[in-house]
Symmetry: C3
């Protein structure tokens, strides 16, 4: 696929400065530029790269001042970052898609498969599964009995989806993730001197437009459903325990863990490795810094960090003072001595 | 499957209050009640749900006082929570089980397969493997050469079990878990300017009644065995390094990490994201709060939290004071000034 | 495979003390000794095990003093630990290797396969893949389109390698790891009230001699490459985000997380559960203790621990004082009272 600067400019309503017939066929970061590529410049701090770039075309924010000659074709746009995202989406959408059901796939005769679906070699589609149109099920994905997936879902290799899981439309699950494994429920049995398993008879419901990274786990509910609501984005290696409810458009970085029965609001953002206790409630638009530890409820509209989470300014002040604790300790010892002295000499 | 209130009451030795012919066919939490479901009430705090429940039957603890009219059938029992666990187990045990060896499975002719075993499509059973009776091996499970599994083991999709791993009876492994991958052993080779791999020739031994969650890793020993003893329950995304020894009935929440050669006692409980150093010893009945960091040995019968772990009361006091460090710092500064002043004026 | 003490001594240039015709066929730790095994003793602290060992041969460091009679054959060497590593490598190299392409594997007719390659049942090799000589691709490994693997690579069961990933020679990936899944890139779209996906069109490049543990994730770059350089060793359950660059011979313990676009130097060592922010730079030979949290750049040649990381001595002092905060708080309160008193009586 090749495009001229002129074609690109039309797509994103930009204005060409330079040769509008130059062609590009790939993307490159401005600091890793090469001929035939399109790059972008949104941060004035990186303007110096523009004067030495080898990329054939560079998208530049309208308000960036250029005060040296450039050897590349510029396309001026209101927001270069948004434009590049749009172009990347276009580029992705033009890639050929896999399709058809591979003869090496296992598809239960009791499954219902929509139109224009891809099912790769060694994919496993169990009894009673319903797959919507345009789904892509990659090799080694396992979709167990009675799961229902909407339209346009993508399930990458080695994903495991346990029985009775429900997906909305346009749900994407990256490799190795496990949806619907048993929640962690055991009751001590004192007579037997062991634990009894509490069967987990609920399921997992994932609504439209959710994307889940690699090797993330979302456990099925004991009863009822573990729910991941519309537009949620989860990174890799995240733990979502049974009976949790994750609100719309909430985003979590890698290695976050949410314990059982916790309710998380909408538009939250959790930094990596954050841990959240079970049976609590987190409001809407709560931002938590990386590695936070959350023992109790949090109200909406707060940016917090730490264990327990506190305002960011307070956290950084406290963190700085932790490093100075030995010094503070010395000061206290000195004070104790001096006050003792003063009391004696009174 | 449908049961009358009367039949349920007989099963769990309860006493019916209301219509004993009403039938139920599923479970529901009391706050998500619906006709045809059985719910339970064990915590008096939730008694108000009872007055508005749509569930057909509710199990209620003997000692809960009911002072408003109820429209549902009650079954009075000594311990509603235990009874519901028992009923759930019964319900699970009545579900039809998969069985037979799928024609799309790979079973080495050198493997020994017990009676009444299920081996799903695309499951892989290597040379010299021994599978006990009543095992369920789901699609895409990989059991490499010379593994031995006892009776009634369940291996979910996409589990990898490396060569020479030994399971007792009734071991359950959820999807994506990896048992017996190489321990992390490398020795710096100064001449070559790189690391040499230390081959990991030991194995993993998992005793009876162990359940392991999804995407958990248990590494094989360098020499000898990494051992997970009878009745241990591990949640998802846990790391158990080489040559560790996890004592009977110990329970760990998600994302815990145990470094190499550490010995953990019996009946311990570790909160999520806890990290434990290598080459140390944790006693019996040690409870560690979430996100604890353990640098050294811990004696038996303690409930600790933090890094390093301390008594819970002390931890929460210290945590509270960390937040107040800026204030304490100001107080120290004031004291220093005032004492200086007092010394001058002496 | 059986060897005499004499043969072993020749291999590792050691000196036999005792019966040089005794034979061994396995390894055992000195504290788990048994007839027919070779053990080693490198730490004088464990010398007492030597007097009661059942192992047939024990490698002993030259400088360890033995002052009681021993019933086993000794081989004296300069460095017993190194020698045992060498013997283990030899032992591993003598084990029969899998080979040939299983008839149940899927190998695209558009893939190029080197000599002496093993491809197990249910392995999936996509279009345009190039596999170097002597690669071992285990059952259920998925290698998607256009990946290139050098010579001698080992890919264990249930590994997922996304399209266009490049491996050098002798790269080993343990089960469940996911290489090249989409980086976590989403931009809020205020009009739509949701997030837009930023397509991740870059790839992952893994250089020679890298070993990656189980269930670890390395995300593909947005543009350009996520790079893991020569000799890097990663343990299990690690998160390496998009566009990171991990320097040569760096080693990370389990559950470490590195956020996007961070550059890590050579010969670093990161303890388990450490978290590192995005868009920062870590120098060469930086050692970070377990559970550290790194918000900003770190210069080369430092041993740090904590959040933010500090010198170890400082960290342990601060940690100790955190435990004593309640006591310090009491002292400050007393001081405030006493100084108030002194001021009054002045």
């Amino acid at each position: 696929m090749e495009f001229t600067a002129k074609q690109i400019a039309q797509l994103i309503q930009g204005r060409v400065e330079g040769d509008d017939e130059v062609t590009i066929n790939t993307f490159a970061k401005i600091e890793e530029s090469r001929p035939g590529a399109i790059s972008f410049l949104a941060n004035p701090k990186y303007t110096h790269y523009l004067y030495e770039t080898k990329s054939s075309v560079v998208l530049v924010d309208e308000d960036i001042t250029i005060d040296q000659p450039v050897n590349t074709t510029l396309i001026r746009v209101r927001n270069a970052r948004d434009c590049v995202a749009k172009l990347l989406q276009l580029y992705e959408s033009m890639k050929p898609k896999k399709n058809g059901i591979d003869s090496l796939a296992f598809v239960s005769p009791k499954a219902k498969i929509g139109k224009d679906v891809y099912i790769g070699a060694f994919a496993y589609i169990g009894d009673g599964v319903e797959l919507g149109d345009d789904c892509l099920i990659y090799p080694h994905a396992t979709i167990m009995d009675n799961c229902k997936l909407g339209k346009g879902c993508i399930v990458y290799p080695n994903v495991s989806i346990y029985h009775e899981t429900h997906f909305g439309n346009n749900v994407t699950i990256h490799s190795g993730s496990v949806i619907g494994a048993d929640g962690f429920g055991f009751a001590p049995n004192e007579e037997a001197g062991s634990y009894d398993k509490i069967p987990q008879i609920g399921n997992v419901v994932i609504e439209d437009d959710v994307e889940i990274g690699a090797n993330t786990c979302i456990d099925r509910a004991t009863m009822g459903s573990t729910i991941v609501r519309k537009g949620v984005k989860l990174d890799n290696l995240i733990q979502i325990a049974h009976n949790t409810d994750i609100g719309r458009n909430t985003v979590m970085s890698a290695q976050v863990g949410i314990a059982g029965s916790t309710k998380v609001g909408e538009w939250c953002m959790f930094g990596g490795q954050t841990g959240i206790s079970g049976h609590i409630e987190i409001g809407n638009k709560v931002a938590l810094g990386a590695q936070s530890g959350v023992p109790g409820n949090i109200k909406s509209n707060q940016r917090l960090i730490g264990t327990p989470p506190m305002e960011q300014r307070k956290f950084f002040k406290s963190q700085a003072l932790i490093r100075r604790l030995p010094e503070l300790h010395e000061q206290i010892k000195t004070l104790l001595k001096e006050v003792e002295e003063l009391k004696k000499n009174k």
